[in-house]
Structures are given as C-alpha cells and as structure tokens.
Amino acid sequence: MSEVTSLLLTFLREAWVALAGAFVAFALLAGIAQMLRVSSASVLGANLWVWESISALISILVLGLFAFLGIPQIVSALQSSLPGAGGCGPISELGTLASGLIGGLAALRMLKAAFTTMLSASIGGASSFANALIESGEALFGMILASAAIPLAAWFLGTC
C-alpha cells in the first residue's frame, strides 16, 4: 500500500511541477498580451481599454502570488488537519493513502483553478473567473470535509 501511495504521490508531484511551470509561462504570455493591448489602446486613445488592461495585469500578478504563495500554505495547513491513520491494519494504511491522495488532488485542483482563473483574467472572461474561484473553494471545502470523514470511516469500519 505504501508503494502505491508513493507512486501516486510522485505522479501528482510531477503534475504539480508541470502545472506550476505552465502557469509561469502562461502568466508571462498573458502579461505581454495585456501590454500589447495597452500600447494599441493608448495609440488609439481608448482610455477604458487601457485601464481594463492595467487592471488585468494587476490581477495576473495577484493571482500568480496567490497561486505560488497562498495555495501551498493553505494545502499544508489543511493537510495537517487530515488524520493520517485511524485505527490499525488495513484501515490505517487506507487512511494514510486517502489523506495523502486527498491532499495531493486538492492541491492540484486548486492550482488548476488558479491557472484557469489567470487565463480567464488575461482574456477578460468574468464568468470563468468566478467558476474557477468556486472550484478552488470546493477543493478547500472537500479537504475540510475529508478531515471529518476519515475518522468517521475508521470508526465505522472498526478501530483497534
């Protein structure tokens, strides 16, 4: 069971690193696209367009800081609240596997939500921005729920 856990967590870690790298690349592309928009709008004299682009640039920066500084801290805090092992034997091993997987999947889901939010912020899509933030909240809520469900499941299935 521990080998399966480490294998799955390695897979999730690699996905995290890839997604974080893609996040940086797309944030920069979104930034230069907004700068292009600012320059063309300033030549045309479109003030509103300029301010929209500047606020989009600021939102990309804030989202980048949230994704890289906020999400790991949130995941670490919530993962410490997840009970690793309830009981003994296979229940304990399953609890360890479940808590590791829940943490990894929730972290990836939040980073994916931040990635989607950044992309939609760069193209000015307000609805997908809100959906991505809701998804981030769902992942957070799922982790909180799991921190209560794992001990309950261990108690239901029988503890030593």
């Binding site: 930034g31 230069i32 700068m35 993962q79």
Partner: protein
Amino acid sequence: MFDPIMEQILAIARDAWAFMAGLLIVVALLGGLYFILQGTAGMAFGGSRMTSMAIIGVVGLVIIVLFAFLFLPQLGEMLKNFQPKPPF
C-alpha cells in the same frame, strides 16, 4: 512523465512570446509614427495642444514598451523564484 509535454508547451509559449514581442514593437513603431505625424501637423498650423499631446503620447508609448520589456521578464523571474515545491 510530464517533461515531454512541458517541453512542447514551453516551445509553443516561447514562439508566442517572440511573436507578441515583435507585434508589440511593430505597434509601438506605428504608434510613434502616428504621434510624430500628429506633432508635426500640430506644429505646422500652430496647434500647441495637439503637439504637446503627441509628445506626451510618444513618451507614454516609450514607457509602455520599456515596462513590457523590462518589467515582464523580471515578473517572470520573480514568479519562477516563488514557484513552490509540491506541498504534499
């Protein structure tokens, strides 16, 4: 496992960056030419406000291009430095 995919994504992103940087230079040059035309026209018939707006426009355009080419790479470096290890 994700390295080949990342390589492909980064290659596309690099191409897109080069394309947009080139486009930004073209737009800035065209904008600069337009402002210079506006400024010279203003000077020719004594439109001082038109000339001063054109000068401000050129300065603004230069600031925007400098901001794009100096600030964005630094922002990328900063985000790369902040890139977290997996928290699980």
